[in-house]
């Protein structure tokens, strides 16, 4: 997978506070995403973004994410996006604002936070099961359904379905590999 920065360098951070003023900006992002090669992982550097509101997050994060999910469902386009350099609460409060907007849209995105990760938005699943598996993938970096079965005492079918859901939501990547003993299996990978 190739990692690519989504925003070019701006002298001043951009405010995401007005949807109408962000139309061209969003279009530039969408063009970059749609023109990129398969298996590209986009990194949205939030250091280039200052104050935000729901409409701004919707244009610049939720809509591109929704587009990636739909492109995968419709055309099996393999592209992903995650966030880095979120501003802390006392400054631009990115995590809270992103979480609020993605909850309304029932979307979820991963953010890299120093050496760890944060899950922002609505992930779904019953009793936190999807969240638990997502955290497992990001702590291990690579897992198979069999690893999930061993770690959480689940049925293989359940583990496969749940990993597949996270993959469809563009939260983890997937690679099909040849097993030494014959047959093939999916390896699910964190985006960072």
């Amino acid at each position: 997978m190739k990692t690519e920065l989504l925003l070019s360098v701006h002298e001043e951070p951009i405010q995401l506070l007005n949807r109408t003023q962000l139309k061209d900006f969003k279009q530039a992002i969408m063009n970059k995403i749609s023109n990129a090669a398969m298996n590209t992982v986009f990194v949205l550097d939030m250091a280039k973004i200052s104050d935000t509101n729901g409409s701004g997050i919707d244009e610049v994060i939720a809509k591109p994410l929704k587009w990636l999910i739909n492109e995968f469902i419709d055309k099996k386009v393999e592209k992903y996006i995650y966030l880095v350099n979120l501003s802390p609460e006392e400054e631009h409060d990115h995590a809270y604002n992103i979480e609020s907007t993605l909850n309304i849209e029932q979307l979820c995105i991963m953010a890299k936070v120093e050496d760890s990760f944060s899950i922002l938005g609505y992930i779904g699943g019953s009793k936190g099961s999807l969240k638990q598996i997502l955290e497992f993938v990001y702590s291990r970096k690579e897992v198979t359904a069999r690893d999930v079965v061993d770690a959480f005492d689940k049925q293989l079918n359940t583990a496969s379905t749940q990993l597949s859901k996270l993959y469809e939501k563009r939260l983890i990547a997937r690679e099909e590999i040849q097993m030494p003993e014959g047959g093939r299996q999916f390896v699910y990978k964190s985006l960072f």
């Binding site: 104050d51 509101n53 409409s55 609460e89 907007t101």
Partner: protein, 286 residues
């Protein structure tokens, strides 16, 4: 013909009464007739009341010749001056106050420099102005020690409601924020004199009653611009408001005041059909 202003203009109920009175009188007038706004009885006005009053004046002055009878009590005039009313109202209104009262005395009072503390009435006509006002107000509350999430909420209330006014109406946007420090309470009012939520949405929704349309505007993604996948701003405001320790959200649009709760939108007082949408958010940060 005369529109009489009550003794107080401080709540959304007061704005509702003012709109009722205004529409009752306007119905009887032809364009270019004279209407007098009689403020003699006014004793108490707040920033919230001022947003409603400014939007009514804006509406009237577009259609009629407007006369003013200033309040007898000087205190509301002093407060209106302190809130920058005379900087944002029309020259016509300002001149009539100056003819009737010693406004030079009021204008020349000693003012402490409270630019970073006092939340005066603001009027915006562009998205950029909305953003600037929200940034200024966020800065003021940051200096007062309000926490990050709550600062984001306040900025969202102002920008989402204000940008809606610019996007969906041809009206100016009147914004007031009042900090009741003794009660740890913040009041935010955003008013316009556009066509109102019902008229804006009635042709694009399958539900037809005005109350259903207003409810859909607040609780769903209903929008005149749904082809652009819009209409989430009011849902976001509702979600954010009820994260505060206490919150009340109400609006006056079409012919009614609506109370917005966590679970729904309820009409609480009906009156005459009028122009404008008036949001009033009260949040407590105890």
């Amino acid at each position: 013909m005369e529109i009489k202003i009550n003794r107080t203009l401080s709540t959304i109920e007061d704005i509702h009464q003012l709109l009722d009175e205004t529409m009752k009188v306007v119905k009887l007038l032809n364009s270019d007739d004279v209407v007098t706004v009689n403020m003699q009885r006014l004793r108490y006005i707040t920033p919230v009341g001022l947003t409603g009053f400014l939007s009514v004046l804006d509406y009237l002055e577009d259609r009629l010749e407007v006369g003013i009878i200033a309040p007898i009590d000087i205190n509301p005039i002093k407060y209106m001056e302190r809130m920058n009313f005379f900087k944002v109202c029309s020259e016509n209104v300002k001149e009539q106050f100056e003819e009737q009262k010693d406004m030079a005395f009021i204008y020349n009072r000693n003012r402490n420099n409270l630019v970073d503390e006092l939340l005066e009435i603001r009027v915006a006509k562009t998205h950029q102005q909305i953003v600037e006002i929200s940034t200024l107000i966020k800065g003021i509350f940051k200096n007062k020690g309000l926490k990050g999430n709550r600062l984001s909420d306040i900025q969202s209330f102002i920008t989402e409601l204000g940008n809606n006014v610019i996007d969906h109406t041809k009206s100016s946007c009147f914004i007031a924020v009042k900090n009741n420090e003794d009660e740890n309470e913040i009041e935010i009012a955003v008013a316009d004199r556009g066509e109102g939520i019902y008229n804006s949405l009635k042709d694009v929704l399958t539900v037809q009653s005005p109350h259903e349309i207003v409810e859909a505007a607040i609780t769903t993604k209903a929008s005149r611009l749904s082809d652009e996948d819009r209409g989430k701003g009011l849902m976001d405001i509702k979600q954010r408001a009820f994260r505060w320790s206490e919150a009340s959200v109400s609006l006056r649009t079409n012919n009614a005041i609506y109370e917005i709760t966590k679970c729904g939108v309820n009409p609480i007082l009906e009156g005459k059909n009028s122009f404008g949408t008036f949001f009033w958010i009260k949040v407590n940060y105890s």
